[in-house]
Amino acid sequence: MSPDDLDGIAARENASRKPIQIRCCTAAGCLAVGAESVRRELQGVLEQHPLRDQTEVIGVGCMRLCGFGPLVRRDPDGTTFAGVRPADAPAIIAGQGPELTPLDMHQPFFRNQKSVVLANCGIVDPERIESTIAAGGYRGLRDALTLHSPAEIVQFVTRSGLRGRGGAGYPTGVKWSIVAGSTDPNKHVICNADEGDPGAFKDRTILESDPHRVMEGMVIAGYATGARTGYVYVRGEHPLVTDRLQKAIDQAREFGLLGTDILGRGLIFDIEIRVGAGAYVCGEETALIASIEGGRGIPHPRPPYPGKVGLWGAPTLINNVETYANIGAIVENGPDWYSAIGTPTSRGTKVFSVAGRVVRTGLVEVPMGTPLREIVEVMCGGAPKGARIKAVQTGGPAGGFVPEPLLDTPVDYEAMAAIGSIVGSGGMIVLDETTDMVEMARFFMDFCRDESCGKCIPCRTGTVQMHGLLERIGRREGTRADVLRLELLADVVRHTSLCGLGRSAPNPVTSSLRHFRGDYEEKLRGGPKS
């Protein structure tokens, strides 16, 4: 396939679309509440329906408001129905029905979103590449191969100000230039889709809804750095991601967008899936590499960083799903378009999966710099039944708690760090006033204790001790000395652990002690003064 064919495929695909399209969300969130039977019923009713020639049912990706699934949208007018049951199929096909009240698509939850990564989510059919191409997919790759040199692409990524969306916020351009700078002929590109944070589902959703956008980013990374092999490390708990991604890879190979002569420009790059088997630590890049190499997910000391010595010793670029999903747009629209979004230090948009005690659970993509309050209260409706929000937790077991008074903090790497939290990979859990913060800290420590790889002493044993202390305090049998021991361990585990898991395991404890010390004090034996 040549670069010009892209437009041909897009034109043919758009021409073959029927006037009325009924889009059904088939991402895991909706599937868990019966979306598949809704889609089958819609398909069944349509086959005997007079409107069958002008109407078609399309399984698409996430329409963002997961908490109100199953979601179905009638296009082109865009009316969207929530909580659809198979029995609603005839009314939806006919376009009207007494009990069907469409969602207000102009409410802040939708209106305040700015889509770059999620632009095609809920629109394209993830299982047909033509659908993505018709929506403009792979134009970034075409521009890269036809208009820009590899070095220019690295420059674009650097100038865009994009930083790692896996949580650490490391400047993506720097990573790319290190790998590109190496003369080793054998290089790799890895997409970290491990997303082990409990309560986070944005990487999974992106891959289930628009896998080609991520793959495009990886191919461009291959072109820019000279790597020829790409791996996507997917969690064992996400079988739907593996299925959809494998279909997308096979189709991309058929269409010459992967393989030995991409877009007829001689670029060699292919992608393989590596499936994890349940280990949160494999979200850490050196443990992920050890796992792909067929070993235990045990982190290695750094330096050397993977950019220089990575997979099988070769220079390796590792970025998060969402990071790659930005690349195509950066190349197509230019780095200045991207750096105009967000804040001077945190450019572009950020995708969050909002869950927990919140009215509207789902996926939001907002410019960096958006205050947490706007996301949690304005867009997601705050806590249900009018309860007050106590805190918002970002970054999962590695993150911190943002107390309600600090919800005006903008989503920005430095601003979040300043209040003892992190932007994190994208999980955002809303906690209402009934939440016991000592119990939440215990929950995350229990998670880290169970997920610690066991190699280094501070993390392996420190998490066990901290969990024991949090449990004792939770049972109201803790003393002031226990709180001091907790703080000592938090300091030691944070500064002496070998990898990110251990170094950030104490964050929920230190952050809950910093913002909710009262929750601890009132549980101490003999009360706060003891």
Binding site: A279, R296, H300, P301, P303, R449, D450, E451, S452, C453, G454, K455, C456, I457, P458, R460, T461, G462, T463, V464, Q465, G468, R485, L488, L489, V492, H495, T496, S497, L498
Partner: protein, 239 residues
């Protein structure tokens, strides 16, 4: 002209060769840094974190066993903060499993015990976990007591890198990790173990021991192993 290979350790000027670790330089400069998982001749993994040092200009501590010396580096090996961290790490180890020194074969000959004394540890500030762990005496010559194992993996590395049998490895994860032989079978049943005893020689505690050793009776002669490593090192691929 490449920068001169010089660095400072505890205010002492030290010259180093390309690729040499900070630990090796410190030792040459007569600066003692505590270690447990390190053993000369074995690959370094940076697991026990006792050899952490402060590097001027970096917020993060560096494990000196896996950190290459760089020109102009300024290293601090003995600060009150490092001493406190090392003390806590040793106490965490003493509380993790059942280290009953008084009835241990390695009493008086144990690196963990020595380090505890060196760091003035007179008690452990954390709760003892008292896990239920086994003892395997199925091997004719040797025994393994998991109550005394600190998971430093010297046994795994010497068996793989020097003997080449790879009988030992680590199974499980986190606090429930354990060293195993072959398919987590009794040691005596192993088809790969050559009974060379290198693992027993290198074990820093009383976890691996010659059968029949009485309390405090474990004496180790590591000369034989250091010789084997020297022979292997000149063509070792683990540079």
């Amino acid at each position: 002209m490449t920068a001169e290979r010089k660095m400072r350790i505890n205010d002492v000027q030290v010259k180093f060769e390309e690729g040499e670790t900070v630990l090796a330089c410190a030792r040459r400069a007569g600066v003692r840094i505590p270690t447990l998982c390190h053993f000369d001749g074995l690959s370094d993994i940076g697991a026990c974190r006792l050899c952490l040092v402060e590097v001027e200009g970096s917020a993060q501590l560096a494990a000196s066993c896996v950190t290459r010396a760089e020109p102009g580096m300024v290293i601090r090996c003995h600060t009150t903060r490092l001493a406190e961290y090392r003390k806590v790490i040793l106490e965490l180890l003493l509380a993790e499993r059942n280290h009953v020194c008084s009835v241990c074969v390695a009493n008086g000959n144990c690196e963990l015990q020595d380090l505890a004394t060196e760091h003035q540890i007179d008690h452990v500030r954390f709760d003892y976990q008292f896990p239920a762990l086994g003892v395997d005496l199925s091997h004719g010559q040797f025994g393994v007591d998991h109550n005394r194992c600190i998971l430093c993996t010297r046994c795994v590395r010497v068996c793989d890198e020097i003997e080449g049998a790879h009988t030992w490895d680590v199974a499980g994860r986190g606090g429930t990790s354990r060293v195993i032989t072959d398919l987590a079978q009794p040691w005596g049943e192993s088809q790969t173990c050559t009974s060379c005893g290198k693992c027993v020689e290198l074990c820093p505690t009383g976890a691996l021991f010659p059968r029949g050793t009485s309390v405090g009776g474990l004496v180790r002669d590591r000369g034989r192993i250091e010789l084997a490593m020297a022979h292997r090192r000149h063509e070792s691929c683990h540079g």
